[in-house]
C-alpha cells in the first residue's frame, strides 16, 4: 500500500541481533469503522505514559465504514514526531490490504496478523506473529455483536507483550480512554489481558523492536490541533462562532461547543457566546462579518471548498475592514478530491482571496501549542488591523494527536482595536471611519448601537471615501487602495515573527511552515549526519512576511522553500515579496501525495538539488 516504502534497515538477521529501542514505527491496518481508533489511541498513550516521545497519524478514507484505514505510531527517543516513511511493525487486521501491506515492508520488519490470513507464507525475511483473534475474542466477549470492537483490544495486549509495554500503563490508558464507561473499560481490559497472556504463552519474541521507559514526556499533554484551536478560541474570548460541517475542520467547532458549554456559561445558565451551524460557508462567513462589524469576536472554521465559497465575502471583509477569524484546516483539492488527506494547498488562494486587489494576513501554526496560542493572536490581529485573519492549519495538525508541552495562559490581553465609544464621540464630536489618523492605515470604527448621533457609518464595498460615503471619484478609490496596502505592509511589523530555528551562517537556508516543521527538524539532522550538509532553518509563522524573512534570504546563498503542495505556493508568494535579484536563490521543495510530510522526502530532495 502506498503509505509504506522500502526501509533502510539491514537484513532480517542483523535486526535480530541488535535491539532497536524507542525508535521505530508501527502501522495498524484496519477497516474504517471497526473501532480501531480506541485501540490505537491506547497504544499511543501507553508509549507516551512510559516517557517515550511518540506521535500518531490516522490515514483514513472518506468513508463511514468498510474501506481500509491505517494508523501509524512512531516512537522516537530523539523526539522526532513527523511521520516516518518506513514502517517497522505492521499489525495487519484488514484482510483486504494485508498482502499488499506485507509485501511493501523492508526486510527485518515484523508483522502481527490474524491467523487465518496465513501472511507468513508471503515472505521469509520478516518476523511473523499469528494471533487467533476470533478464538481469543469469543472467550472474553460473550456478546457477539461487540466482538468486532473488542477484537482490536487483543492486538493491544499482544503488542504490549511483544514491545515490552507495561500493562499497568496500558490499563491506565485504557481506563482514560473509556472514561466513565466502566463496563466497556472492563470488557476491553479483559481483551487486552487475553492478548497479553496469549503472547506470553504462544509467541516468541524474534524482532528487535522494544519500548523502554524514558522520562521525556513528563507533564506533557496529548491533543489534536483542532481541539487545541478550539480551546485557544475559547480563551481568546470568541463570542460568535458560525460554521458549516466539513472535513477536516468539523471537529474544531464540535470541540469548541463542548468547551464553551463547560466554561462559558454563566451562573445564571446564560451563554456568553452564540454558535450557529449555517446553511453553507457563504452564510457562515457572512455571519462572521455581520458579527465582527457589530463588535463580536467572530470566527468560522472550514477547509478548501468552504474557502472557495467565502471568496466574495473575504474581499468585502477586506474592503469594509471588518475583523474576523477564519480557520482553514487544509486538505487536498475540490469535490471528492481526497477530503481526508492533508496538504498546504490553500496558501496562495487565501493570500489573495476575492476579486479586486486583496491581501489577507495568514497565521501558520506548526503545532498544537501554536493552534492554541495563535487563536488569541488571530483575534487580536483581526481587531487591531480590522480585517479578516486566516489561520492556516491542516488535516495532519488538526485531526491527529500530538504530544505537547502544556499550553500557556494567553500573555496578551484581549485587544479590541480602535473602537470609539459614545464618550469618545462626545469628546471628539465626530469621526471619519477610514481616515488614517495614526499613520498605520487603520481607521477608527464605532459599533452599531452606539448611542450617539454621530456614531453611524455606512459599511459598503470598495467605493467609498474616508467618511464611508459612497464615492466613485478616482482619487477616493485610489487613496483607499493605497491606504489598505499601507495597512497590509505595516502588518509585517505586527504579525507573529518567524522562528529562526537555526541561523549559524551556513550557505544553505531552509524555509518551511506549518506541519512541515516536524519533518524539517529531523531533516536538519539527516542532512548533517548523513550528508555533512549544515543548513540553517527559518520557520514562517505568518504572512505578510516580516523583515527577518527577507534578511534570512539575503544572508544565504541557496534557500529551499518547503511546501506541501504541487505548485510551491509559499515559494511563489516569497518570490513576489523579495527583491528581484534575490529570487534566483530560491529553490522549491514540494510534497503533494496527501500524506503528512516526512523528513526523508525533504532530505533526499535537498541533497539532490544540492548536487546539481
Amino acid at each position: 500500500m502506498a503509505t509504506t516504502e522500502i526501509a533502510v534497515h539491514g537484513s532480517a538477521r542483523d535486526a535480530e541481533r541488535k535491539p532497536i529501542v524507542n525508535d521505530f514505527s508501527i502501522q495498524v491496518a484496519t477497516a474504517n469503522g471497526s473501532g480501531s481508533q480506541s485501540a490505537n489511541s491506547i497504544l499511543l498513550r501507553t508509549i507516551f505514559q512510559m516517557g517515550v516521545p511518540v506521535s500518531g497519524k490516522n490515514l483514513f478514507p472518506s468513508n463511514i465504514a468498510g474501506l481500509p484505514t491505517w494508523y501509524t505510531i512512531r516512537a522516537s527517543k530523539q523526539g522526532y514526531i513527523a511521520r516516518k516513511k518506513e514502517i517497522d511493525f505492521v499489525v495487519a487486521m484488514n484482510a483486504e490490504t494485508a498482502k499488499e501491506d506485507v509485501l511493501a515492508l523492508a526486510p527485518g520488519a515484523a508483522v502481527l496478523y490474524d491467523e487465518p490470513l496465513k501472511l507468513n507464507e508471503l515472505r521469509d525475511d520478516l518476523t511473523f506473529y499469528a494471533v487467533p483473534y476470533d478464538k481469543l475474542t469469543a472467550a472474553v466477549c460473550p456478546e457477539a455483536k461487540l466482538r468486532k470492537l473488542v477484537k482490536n483490544m487483543i492486538y493491544v495486549g499482544v503488542m504490549a507483550q511483544l514491545l515490552g509495554l507495561e500493562m499497568v500503563e496500558v490499563e491506565k490508558a485504557l481506563r482514560k480512554q473509556f472514561a466513565k464507561k466502566v463496563k466497556a473499560a472492563d470488557l476491553n481490559w479483559n481483551a487486552a489481558k487475553a492478548g497479553y497472556d496469549y503472547a506470553v504463552a504462544s509467541l516468541t519474541k524474534a524482532d528487535p523492536f522494544t519500548i523502554e521507559r524514558m522520562d521525556k514526556t513528563a507533564g506533557m499533554i496529548i491533543i489534536d490541533g483542532n481541539s487545541a484551536a478550539a480551546m485557544g478560541c475559547m480563551f481568546a474570548g470568541v463570542t460568535v462562532v458560525t460554521w458549516y460541517p466539513i472535513t477536516p475542520s468539523s471537529s474544531l467547532v464540535e470541540t469548541l461547543i463542548d468547551y464553551m458549554k463547560a466554561y462559558r456559561v454563566g451562573p445564571d445558565g446564560k451563554a456568553t457566546f452564540a454558535i450557529v451551524q449555517a446553511e453553507d460557508e457563504l452564510a457562515a462567513i457572512g455571519m462572521v462579518l455581520g458579527a465582527g462589524w457589530a463588535g463580536a469576536r467572530a470566527m468560522t472554521a472550514t477547509a478548501g471548498p468552504g474557502i472557495s465559497l467565502m471568496a466574495e465575502f473575504a474581499g468585502l471583509g477586506y474592503y469594509v475592514e471588518i475583523p474576523g477569524v477564519i480557520w482553514d484546516v487544509q486538505r487536498v483539492g475540490p469535490s471528492t478530491g481526497l477530503p481526508t488527506r492533508t496538504s498546504q494547498g490553500d496558501i496562495e488562494f487565501v493570500a489573495k482571496l476575492s476579486h479586486g486587489d486583496t491581501f489577507h494576513p495568514m497565521l501558520l501554526p506548526c503545532s498544537v501549542a501554536e493552534c492554541f496560542s495563535m487563536a488569541n493572536e488571530a483575534f487580536n490581529l483581526a481587531e487591531q488591523l480590522q480585517t479578516p485573519v486566516f489561520v492556516m492549519s491542516d488535516l495532519d495538525l488538526g485531526m491527529n494527536n500530538w504530544m505537547s508541552e502544556p499550553f500557556e495562559y494567553p500573555k496578551d490581553p484581549i485587544n479590541r482595536g480602535k473602537v470609539l465609544t459614545k464618550e469618545d464621540l462626545d469628546r471628539l464630536g465626530g469621526f471619519s471611519r477610514y481616515k488614517d489618523v495614526d499613520g498605520d492605515g487603520v481607521g477608527y470604527r464605532t459599533l452599531p448601537g452606539t448611542d450617539h448621533p454621530s456614531a453611524a457609518w455606512f459599511a459598503r464595498g470598495s467605493g467609498h471615501n474616508e467618511k464611508s460615503q459612497y464615492s466613485e471619484r478616482p482619487d477616493d478609490y485610489q487613496n483607499n487602495l493605497d491606504r489598505l496596502l499601507h495597512k497590509f505592509d505595516n502588518a509585517r511589523n505586527v504579525v507573529p515573527k518567524p522562528d529562526l530555528v537555526r541561523n549559524d551562517g551556513n550557505d544553505v537556508g531552509i524555509i518551511a511552515y506549518g506541519t512541515s516543521h516536524h519533518a524539517l527538524v529531523e531533516t536538519l539532522d539527516q542532512l548533517q549526519n548523513e550528508h555533512g550538509v549544515k543548513a540553517d532553518y527559518l520557520r514562517l509563522r505568518a504572512y505578510p512576511f516580516a523583515r527577518e524573512i527577507h534578511e534570512f534570504i539575503a544572508a544565504h546563498k541557496r534557500v529551499y522553500i518547503v511546501d506541501q503542495n504541487r505548485d510551491g505556493q509559499m515559494f511563489q508568494l516569497l518570490k513576489l515579496d523579495i527583491p528581484v535579484e534575490e529570487i534566483i536563490k530560491l529553490r522549491s521543495v514540494r510534497h503533494y501525495n496527501g500524506l503528512p510530510l516526512d523528513a526523508r522526502t525533504v532530505t533526499d530532495e535537498i541533497v539532490f538539488q544540492e548536487s546539481k
Partner: protein, 348 residues
C-alpha cells in the same frame, strides 16, 4: 399683521423628542417615481411614529436598487450594504453580536428570490428578530431590466420577452418555513404599508413583508404584472389594518365581530378589520391556501397574511446573556488560569 416678533413654531417631535428630520437619509439616486422611494418614506414615518431612536437601528441590505435605498433614510443608523443575496447572513451575525439592535433588512426580488434564495429560506427558518422588506418589482433594475424569480408567469418585459417560468411566492415560502409575521403590501398603499411597518416594529421575530414596488423604468408598462396600473386593478386587501402602540394611552373601541385583535410582543395592539369572511391570520395552512387561491384568481392579496406571536425567536433559543456579546468584558469572555489548568490535566 402684528408688528411683534412671533415665536418660531416648535417643530413637531415624537415621544423621544426627535423630529422627522432626524430620521432623514441622503438624497435618493433612484428614478423619480420609483416605488422604493415611497417605501423609504413609509419606513421613516413608522420609525418616527414608534419613537425608535435611529441609533438603535441597523439597516442591512444586499445588492440592487432596493439595497441602495438604506442610504436614503435614517442616516443616524449604522448601515451595511453587503453582497448580492447575502443580507440575511450578515444581519444574523450582527443581531447575534448585539441582540439589542433593531434590524431592518431591505432587499429586492432578485437579491432575495434569485441569488439569495438559499440564505432567505434559512433565515426564515430561524425566526431571527428582523424586519425583512422585499422591494419587489420583478426585474433587475441596475442591470437594465432582466426578469427575477418573482416575475409572474406570462409577464412581459419591455423588450417583448415573456416570462415562462412560475414565480417564487416569497410570502408562501416564508409562512411555510417559520417566519412569524408575513405580509404583502404595495408601495402605493401608503396607509396599509405604514400600519404594517409599525406593527412589524412591535414584533420580536422574523417579519417578512413583500412590497410590490413598481420599477418605473423597466417594468411599469402594459403587460407587466408589477406595474402601478396592474396593482391598482388587482390588489386585494385581506383586511383593514389599525395599529395601537403600547405607549398610546388612548384606546379605540372595536367590534369583536368584525375585527381581530392581536396583542404584539411589546404590548401594542394590531387590529385587523375583516374585509372577507373568516380570515384567521394565525392559521398557517389557511394562509398558504388563500395565497394559492388569489394567485389562481390573478389577484395580488395584500395585508398581514400570517402572524404568530407565540413561537420563540432565534435569540431566545440561543439563551444568551442579556448584555450584547459585542461588549462583554474580558473577565467574562476569557476563562481563568484555573480553567486552563483543568483542561491541561484532562489531557495528561
Amino acid at each position: 399683521m402684528s408688528s411683534t416678533a412671533t415665536a418660531t413654531p416648535q417643530p413637531k417631535t415624537n415621544r423621544i423628542g426627535l423630529t422627522v428630520l432626524d430620521y432623514r437619509g441622503g438624497k435618493t439616486t433612484l428614478c423619480a417615481g420609483c416605488g422604493h422611494n415611497a417605501i423609504s418614506e413609509r419606513i421613516i414615518d413608522a420609525f418616527y411614529d414608534m419613537g425608535i431612536g435611529p441609533e438603535r437601528v441597523v439597516k442591512m441590505s444586499g445588492i440592487g436598487c432596493s439595497s441602495k435605498s438604506p442610504a436614503y433614510f435614517m442616516s443616524r443608523s449604522h448601515s451595511f450594504n453587503s453582497v448580492h443575496g447575502r443580507m440575511p447572513s450578515v444581519t444574523t451575525g450582527a443581531v447575534l453580536a448585539n441582540s439589542r439592535v433593531i434590524a431592518l433588512g431591505v432587499s429586492g426580488d432578485g437579491d432575495t428570490a434569485s441569488i439569495g434564495i438559499g440564505q432567505f429560506v434559512h433565515l426564515m427558518r430561524r425566526n431571527l428578530p428582523l424586519i425583512y422588506i422585499i422591494e419587489d418589482n420583478g426585474v433587475y433594475g441596475l442591470t437594465k431590466g432582466q426578469f427575477s424569480a418573482t416575475a409572474d408567469l406570462g409577464s412581459k418585459l419591455k423588450t417583448g420577452v415573456i416570462n415562462d417560468l412560475p414565480p417564487i411566492d416569497t410570502c408562501a415560502l416564508a409562512i411555510s418555513l417559520g417566519a412569524t409575521f408575513v405580509g404583502r403590501s404595495f408601495s402605493g398603499d401608503k396607509r396599509q404599508l405604514h400600519t404594517m411597518l409599525k406593527a412589524a416594529l412591535a414584533h420580536r421575530g422574523t417579519v417578512l413583508i413583500d412590497v410590490v414596488s413598481p420599477c418605473v423604468t423597466f417594468n411599469d408598462h402594459e403587460g407587466s404584472t408589477k406595474s402601478y396600473k396592474f396593482m391598482k386593478d388587482h390588489e386585494e386587501p385581506l383586511h383593514d389594518l389599525n395599529f395601537v402602540p403600547a405607549f398610546d394611552e388612548i384606546d379605540v373601541e372595536y367590534d369583536e365581530g368584525t375585527t381581530v385583535n392581536v396583542t404584539m410582543h411589546d404590548g401594542s395592539s394590531l387590529r385587523l378589520r375583516k374585509l372577507e369572511e373568516d380570515y384567521d391570520p394565525t392559521d398557517k395552512i389557511a394562509a398558504v391556501k388563500r395565497l394559492m387561491e388569489s394567485d389562481a384568481a390573478d389577484e395580488v392579496l395584500t395585508g398581514i397574511l400570517y402572524l404568530n406571536t407565540q413561537a420563540p425567536n432565534f435569540i431566545e433559543m440561543l439563551n444568551m446573556t442579556d448584555e450584547p456579546l459585542a461588549t462583554l468584558p474580558e473577565s467574562v469572555t476569557r476563562p481563568s488560569r484555573k480553567v486552563l489548568e483543568e483542561c491541561m490535566e484532562e489531557l495528561r
